[in-house]
Amino acid sequence: MTTVLVADDDLDIRELVAFKLAQAGYEVRSAPDGAAALDLARAGGVDIVVLDLMMPGLSGLDVCAELRRQEATADLPVIMLTARAQDQDVASGFAAGADDYVVKPFSPRELVSRVQAVLGRTRP
């Protein structure tokens, strides 16, 4: 089963995303901050990460850049999920290595489609 790591400091968002992804047949692991997200990603078994941009401590950009730096997680697909929708925010997300960008408030159905699309693009 494909495993999605969801990192967001907002409990509602974490639960909504997890609920929708579980409905769509994914296994979901959740992290309330950047450090926990990195730990879970490094532990392995994660196929894709849905990452909030603004989290306490390590931001989503930091986590994404760190994932890209480490060999084991360098190719892990990342979707940014964030309320910051300015052009420069989107550009920063992609510059940090994100594969896609979803703006809050988000459509759960669209998020699942993006997860499927990114997995389809990035899987060998």
């Binding site: 509602d12 909504l16 408030p105 988000f106 459509s107 759960p108 159905r109 669209e110």
Partner: protein
């Protein structure tokens, strides 16, 4: 009674009071904790139903919404804060179902009533909720709130209009909610003191998107410079090509330098080739510095080689910002612009020192930063070699630097 006895009695009384206060605080806290535990005990089992509604897909979501709609009043009270908390976090079917649920439970009607409450905090909270709900039928009331006496309420109303007036808002089918919201937001900028912060208004207008173009174009003719400026900015960011002609008029004729500059920037963002003529005119040496600088950058963004000669002539402009902008704009034009820059950079003997240095710097940086495609790098080398050959034969009668016509690839 002795003085000592009075003091002791006083101390005993104070201690008793402190003790009573501590006991009552603990009791209130205990009651609150108990109430919260009870609320959680009732609300937790209902959480999956709420999530089902919020993801908003299929019959399961509809059934969950029906179940929540049928809760008794006490149970609903425990769930309502959670419903309101997720309301502004989703869009699409989930948002629609949540708003329908709130409407059935009377929350929407209650909050619309609170828009007229005496307390500013209540009015602001109601506007915030209706904005989070993206509830289009409330657009007229939110628009009216832009004239509220309290600045915080006006700010929240401006923000809420961006969501309640947006094309995907709940109940947007009836009437022109987008146009109403856009007109109200723009009108909020009129007068000596804007009713809401211009950046908040601009962000809300951006959320309204292209369907607000009519109101935005109309605002380009408004008496308020701030209104015209904001309209130009948003039209540019939205990329409304249909507004190009209006923006050209603004670039050429608006009485405010700031508005003309913003309209030039907007034309660049839109990338309208037909606007090159107006933008070239705006670079005239007699024009305001802000307008010239914006026009030069916009010429690069439009990317039409028709601007080559104009930008070339600006490489040694007296305003360093304009000259730098011209060099960058030439780079943005691609092959023809790079060819001109490389040629100017090669004219160390004959060219204007400022222009040569500027062109050299821009080309060198572009090559070093590897932003030029290989074909353009080859083009730069070819022009440099040609310039070196010309320099070698410059003593031959009739030989000399390349003419402008040669560089631009047109007949002399």
């Amino acid at each position: 009674m002795t003085f000592f006895a009075v003091v002791v009695l006083g101390l005993v009384l104070v201690s008793a009071l402190v003790l009573a206060l501590a006991v009552s605080i603990a009791a209130v806290r205990g009651l609150r904790a108990r109430r919260e535990a009870h609320r959680r005990a009732v609300a937790e089992p209902l959480r999956p139903l709420l999530l089902e509604v919020a993801v908003g897909e299929g019959e399961d979501a509809e059934a969950a919404a029906d179940t929540l709609a049928a809760l008794d009043t006490a149970a609903w009270r425990t769930v309502e804060p959670a419903v309101l908390a997720v309301l502004g976090k989703v869009r699409g079917d989930g948002q629609r179902l949540l708003v329908e649920l709130l409407a059935v439970r009377g929350v929407i009607t209650r909050e619309r009533g609170r828009l007229h409450a005496r307390g500013a905090v209540r009015r602001a909270a109601a506007a915030e909720l209706l904005g989070a709900a993206a509830y289009a039928p409330a657009v007229p009331e939110l628009a009216a709130l832009l004239h509220d006496g309290d600045p915080e309420v006006r700010l929240v109303a401006a923000r809420a209009l961006g969501r309640a007036g947006a094309p995907g808002a709940v109940g947007m089918d009836a009437g022109d909610g987008v146009g109403q919201a856009a007109s109200a937001l723009l009108a909020a900028l009129a007068g000596q003191q804007p009713a809401a912060p211009p950046d908040v208004v601009a962000r809300s207008l951006m959320l309204l998107g292209a369907p607000a173009a009519g109101a935005l174009r109309a605002a380009l003719g408004a008496p308020s410079a701030l209104e015209r400026l904001t309209a130009a900015e948003v039209l540019g960011r939205l990329g409304v090509a249909a507004a190009s002609r209006d923006l050209e008029e603004i670039v050429l004729r608006d009485p405010s330098d700031v508005v003309r500059a913003r309209a030039a920037t907007a034309l660049g963002r839109i990338g309208a080739p037909l606007a090159v003529s107006a933008l070239r005119a705006a670079t005239s040496p007699t024009g305001a510095a802000a307008v010239r600088r914006a026009a030069v950058v916009a010429l690069g963004e439009v990317g039409d080689p028709v601007a080559l000669r104009c930008l070339w002539s600006l490489l040694d402009d007296g305003d360093a910002h304009v000259a730098d902008g011209a060099a960058s704009a030439l780079l943005a034009l691609g092959a023809p612009g790079v060819r001109v820059l490389a040629e100017v950079a090669s004219q160390e003997q004959d060219g204007s020192p400022g222009a040569v240095a500027r062109a050299h710097e821009v080309v060198a940086c572009a090559v070093l930063a590897e932003v030029l495609p290989p074909l353009l790098v080859d083009e730069v080398d070819r022009v440099r070699r040609a310039a070196a050959t010309r320099a070698a034969v410059v003593s031959v009668p009739g030989a000399g630097p390349a003419t402008g016509a040669e560089l631009l690839g047109v007949g002399a």
